[in-house]
Structures are given as C-alpha cells and as structure tokens.
C-alpha cells in the first residue's frame, strides 16, 4: 500500500490521471468522438434524404423539379436556401442526397453554384458589426463582399459554359467514373456505406407504414434536420478543437504569397468544415487594418475549395444513384477549383472582385443604407424577382 502510494507520487504531475492535463485530454478525446459521431450522423442523414426522395418521387423526380430546369431558377433556389440556412455545406449535402434519390444532375448544378453565392451572406452580416467606425467598416465590408463578387463572377463565367457545353457535368462525370466501378460505387469495399446502412434502414422501416410519399417526405425532413444539426455542431466543436492548428497554418502563410494563402484557406476550411467560418474570420482581421484586402482575398478563395469536402464525404455513402451523387460532389469541387484557376489565374480578372469590393466598401461606409440595400438586394430581392420571372416564362 505504501509502495503504491510512493509510485503514484513518483509519477510526473502531468501524467497523473487526476491532473488538469488529463482532464483536458479526456475532454478533447470526448469532443473528437463527438465529431466522429456527428460526421457519421451527417452521412446517414444524406443517405436518408436520398432514400426519402427516391421513395417520395418514384420515377418522377425530374417532373417534380421541372420548375428548376431553368438554370436561373436553380441558381436562385441554391442562393436563397443557403442564405436562409447560412451553410453551403448543409445545402450541398442536401443536394447530394437529392441527386442520389433521382434529382437530375443538370438541375442540381446551378443550385450548387447558387449555394456558393448564398453562403457569403454570413460574413457580410458579420461585417455589419463594424458599423460604428467608418474606416473599419469600409475595410470589413470590402473583406466580406470580395467573396460575393468572386462568386458572382464565377457564376457569370461558368453558368453560360455549363448551359452551352455541360462543361462541369462532363468533368464531374469523368471524376466520379474513377471511383465508381460499373455503377456499383465500390460496393465491395465501401465500408462507410455498409456502416451507415443499419441506421438508414432503421429509419426506412420506421416510416414504412406511412406509404411512399408521406414516408419518403418524412425521411427527407428528418435528413435535412439531421444534416443541419450535425454540420452546426461539428462546426462548433471543430472550431474549439482546431483553433490552435488553424493559427499555426495561418502563421505559416504570412508573407508567403497568394498560393500559400489559398492553400491555408483551404486547409483551415477543411479543419473547421465551414467556408463561412473562414471567410467571416477574415472580416475582423481586415477590419483592424492589419491585413489588406489583397492579402485576405486568397484565403477566401481557399475557403471555397475547402468547403467541398463535406459534400464529397456525404457522397461516399449514399444509397441510390451513387454515381450521380459523387458526380455532383465532384462538380462542386471542380467548379470551385476552376473558379480559382480562371479568375485568379487570369491577370485581367484577378483583381476585379477586389476592386468591386473596395468600391462597395467605400460607398457603404459613406451611406450605410447601401450596405442594407446590397444584402437585401443580392441575397433576397433580386433572386426572388428572378424566380418569379422564370416561373412566369
């Protein structure tokens, strides 16, 4: 007894199970387990949406979304849905689930583009917090809207190309083809799908009694709620867990040029699983004047790329049309990578978003109503009018 006591005393303090270090360690482990559980829930939820949509629409998914076959309508749906939910990862994951359940990829592509636009409302709202200091507000509002202008320019370039040639659809199909074996989606080795199947099947059994349409709709609803909750809480946990790592990455990127900024923006977004977190983080950094707009711009571009990880992850385990689900997830990635390559790669396009954002920031700092009109106009009124017009045509 005496010997045991002495041995315990001899242990270094930080290794003793009762020290604060051990408590912090245990807490961190619990948080990581929660992250793993929530990601599992996210994948299950996307599977639920796919199954629910397939069950509710039968073979009529295309007819159900006939209103969105007009690409502008799809773009507006993606923009408004993301602006309301405040998470592009949630919307793209839902789209992946819907595509797996039968939504045509061609209808989903503009929705994904719209999700990119809609997600930038978050950092724009965050920048409103700097309203009381004129110069600070100009810098913060510019830092937020540079993301909007980049995403708008990206749509202006790629939507016509998609409508004319199906460019993204073809690239997405090619990339998905590399991972899907004879339309079986790596069935033999897809352990993710196998591990989520029991949960998805349990939910399916639970709603069997409601019939195809109601049961399917219930699955979709549960799936949407679960996706929203899992992404929300994963984001919160990862922010806490990864702040140190994010700090290291950003420290490393300082003074290393735009490519390093893009890479670190991508990495930080992958770590926190949210592009709006990364882009919103740029707002106070730019608002204080320590970081210039041209310095934070590459970080926001990286955020667009990093956010694609969620939909890709979700697409690995869906049931139904797995090839199409992977295709839309790869389209999301391709669209964002090509956007950066084309807009940032071409010198005459590179700083257009920066110039537009600087002008808007200056204008909005002189007349704050411009900021309000901009947010309402870009994210709600213009999309709403477009949706109304397209439904009439």
């Amino acid at each position: 007894m005496h010997v045991e006591s002495r041995s315990a005393e001899a242990l270094p303090k930080e290794h003793s199970p009762s020290t604060p270090f051990a408590t912090a360690d245990r807490k961190q482990l619990t948080q990581w387990l929660m992250v793993a559980g929530l990601i599992y829930l996210l994948i299950c939820a996307v599977g639920l949406i796919g199954s629910g949509f397939k069950s509710a629409t039968g073979d009529q998914a295309k007819e159900m979304f006939a209103f969105a076959t007009n690409p502008f309508a799809g773009l507006v749906v993606g923009t408004v849905a993301t602006a309301l939910i405040q998470s592009s990862s949630t919307v793209t994951s839902i789209i992946v689930g819907l595509v797996a359940g039968g939504l045509p990829v061609s209808v989903a592509v503009p929705m994904v583009m719209g999700a990119n636009i809609g997600t930038s409302i978050t950092n724009t709202i965050v920048s409103l917090g700097h309203v009381r200091e004129k110069k600070e507000f100009a810098r913060a509002f510019s830092a937020a809207t540079v993301h909007d202008f980049f995403n708008l320019l990206s749509v202006v370039i790629f939507l016509p190309l998609e409508m004319a040639f199906g460019l993204l659809e073809k690239i997405g199909s090619f990339l998905a083809g590399l991972f899907v074996v004879e339309n079986a989606s790596m069935n033999g080795l897809n352990f993710v799908k196998a591990s989520t199947a029991p949960v998805v099947n349990s939910f399916k059994h639970m709603v069997e009694g409601f019939g195809h349409v109601v049961g399917g709709s219930l699955l979709i609803l549960v799936g949407i709620v679960l996706i929203f909750l899992s992404i929300h809480y994963v984001g919160k946990l990862l922010k806490r867990l990864m702040v140190g790592r994010a700090k290291e990455i950003m420290h490393t990127a300082i003074g290393k040029g735009p490519l390093s900024g893009i890479v670190s923006g991508t990495l930080v977004t992958v770590l926190v699983q949210s592009s709006s977190t990364t882009t919103s983080l740029m707002v106070p950094l730019a608002g204080s004047g320590t970081f210039g707009l041209k310095e934070i711009y590459p970080f926001t571009l990286g955020a667009n790329i990093g956010t694609c990880i969620t939909a890709l992850l979700a697409a690995t385990a869906v049931t139904g049309n797995t090839a199409a689900a992977l295709q839309i997830a790869f389209i999301h990635l391709t669209y964002n990578v090509l956007g950066v390559l084309v807009i940032y790669g071409l010198p005459f396009l590179r700083y257009l978003p920066v110039q537009a954002a600087e002008w808007l920031g200056e204008t909005a700092s002189k007349n704050k109503l411009v900021a309000l009109a901009y947010i309402l106009g870009v994210f709600f009124i213009v999309p709403g009018v477009c949706l109304g017009v397209t439904s009439l045509v």
Binding site: I125, V126, L128, R132, H251, L281, A371
Partner: protein, 74 residues
C-alpha cells in the same frame, strides 16, 4: 540652375544607388513590421473566431445605428 543640375554624373549615380539601397531597406523593414503585426493579430485568433460568429446582435446593432443616424439628421 537647380542643385541637381550642378551635380556630377558620378555623384548622381552614387545618390541613385544610395537611395535605392535605402528604399530597399525601408521596404524590407516595412514588410517585417507588417508581418509582425499580422502574427500578433493571429495570436488572438480565438477571439476573432468568436467575433466572426454570426449573431443577430450584429444586425440589431446595425439597424439601431441606422435609426440613430436617421434621428440625428431629422
């Protein structure tokens, strides 16, 4: 005749080289200080993460600011 016009070619070359050297030093010092300021700002990343969270408070503050401004003008 200005001061510059009286300088010899050699002297002008020397002054240009000296100015370029000083400019280079100033630029690198500026870069170093800017990077140091950015590093210091990133040390408060936890705080920035909190500030970067979307809250209805930002919208409320913004609207109340607009109302204050409107009232002060009318």
């Amino acid at each position: 005749m200005s001061e510059l016009q009286r300088l010899s070619l050699e002297k002008i070359r020397h002054l240009v080289a000296e100015t370029e050297g000083t400019l280079g030093e100033l630029k690198s010092e500026l870069g170093r200080r800017e990077a140091a300021a950015q590093d210091a700002e990133l040390d408060h990343l936890e705080e920035h993460f909190k500030n970067a969270e979307l809250s209805l408070g930002s919208i409320r503050d913004f609207i109340s600011y607009l109302v204050e401004q409107y009232r002060s003008k009318h």
